[in-house]
Amino acid sequence: MAVKKTYEEINEKIRKGEAVVVTAEEVIGIVEEKGYEKAAQEIDVVTTGTFGPMCSSGAFINFGHSNPRIKMKKVWLNGVEAYSGIAAVDAYIGAAQLPDYDPENKVFPGRFTYGGGHVIHDLVAGKQVRLEATGYGTDCYPNKKVDTIITLDDVNDAFLFNPRNAYQNYNCAINMGERTLYTYMGILKPRIGNASYSTSGQLSPLFNDPYYRTIGVGTRIFLGGGIGYVAWHGTQHHPNVLRGDNGVPKVTAATLSLIGDLKGMDPNWLVGLSYIGYGATMAVGVGIPIPILDEEMLRYTAVKDEDIYCPIVDYNEGYPYSKPMELGFANFKELKSGKIKINGNNVVTTPQSSYPRARQIAETLKQWIKNGSFELTQPVAAIPSAESDIVFKSIPERTPNGLSFANGRARR
């Protein structure tokens, strides 16, 4: 008889401590041993994980008020500007933001030793952080300047809200040019000197639910060592792309927007990163549990590295100038082996995403579910899947002069 389970049935088993939970690595061996049907009957939840650089991350913070009160126009945390064009003492610190004094790439390649991701890490680590803010003064908010020291405990609210995380697949970056490139995919040596990739493959959340049957708005997840939720599909979500027979996209596809309480997170799972010549960012730990509702879900979660492909992209001309080039695909099992073949030559592979840490996340999430502290949630809304007709857009090239744009200034 075909396997059918509901979220409620699985949660009931979790509450009783009877749920069978395995990681997305372990499920592969179980399927090989017992077959899909038997494995689907036995397994209730498969846990996934990924830990890699995710630039589109950041945190909303409410600092509480100074006395007298202030409407912050500009805010800096350890010298890194946070966006404050929202309510008086709210701000958003972005992971890729740099301090105003950073020399950037003026001496190339720049070092980018500190940025928004490092600020978030320091806050979560309980470190003291300098808060500077300026305002212009109003009747209700007379104060014009704040310069003090805060910790995460001192602020009213701090929650991570990442517009684009957990990319379903990513480019394998190479450099077909004649000089070393410094990119967000790390250092790329000239004449295809290495091939850089960033995914946890068979452990990666969205490879294990390729059509987002169980991952949707409201899904409870492991985020930064604490609890988070899927808030929306992420920016640049583009699910209607080329897929393999197993449903796994062969190019960049879905993304997730994630939210979670920063105060419950762990500095080991939110780590500031410095990419030489590129900028600062943050490694974010994400783990998503996948309920085995039926055999189809089990088949998805049993995906193996050798069945996952990512597109090879040139970062000398192809990517920066959006030049179409057909360079083929790299297989994830080969990428993990340390070298791949491109044009018949062996090319060393450079990982950007941490596989051991991804494994640790899947394992942690498994323990949370097993000990009953983490129950599954049914999505309250689905995110667009393969049948959608999303068109990937670029900035239009238009001439601004000649047209009378009010720019808001004409308003009275």
Partner: protein
Amino acid sequence: MKNKIVCYFSTSQSEQPVIYRLIKNYDLIINILKADINSQKEGYLVIELEGSPESYEQGTKFMESLGIIMEPLSENIIWNEQLCIQCGACTSFCPTAALDMNRDTMEVSFDNAKCVVCGMCLDCCPTRAIELHFEVKEAV
């Protein structure tokens, strides 16, 4: 010939234009890798010294005559396991596999004995978990 050496200065020596004389009088190519002078004006200089064997010998004799102590450079790469997130990017740049990845566990390890201190790993580590240390004695 070409060598990396550490030169230790005392207060009086640090006031002399030693590098200028090495270049001007002994035709040596000098690359200053690191230098530090403390508040008592004692300090050290890590340099790469390059030139013909004769000028190299004469240049080092000149430094000896000033009382500057010279020692071959011993550098160390320090891998800070606590900061490392195990991405493994460094292992693809390490020419001697001193930084290496176990392909089963995908975990990174560092073998100091294999390290030639080329410094390739320093730039590619996104958590700055790898540091270059010069082994320098207390200033003379």
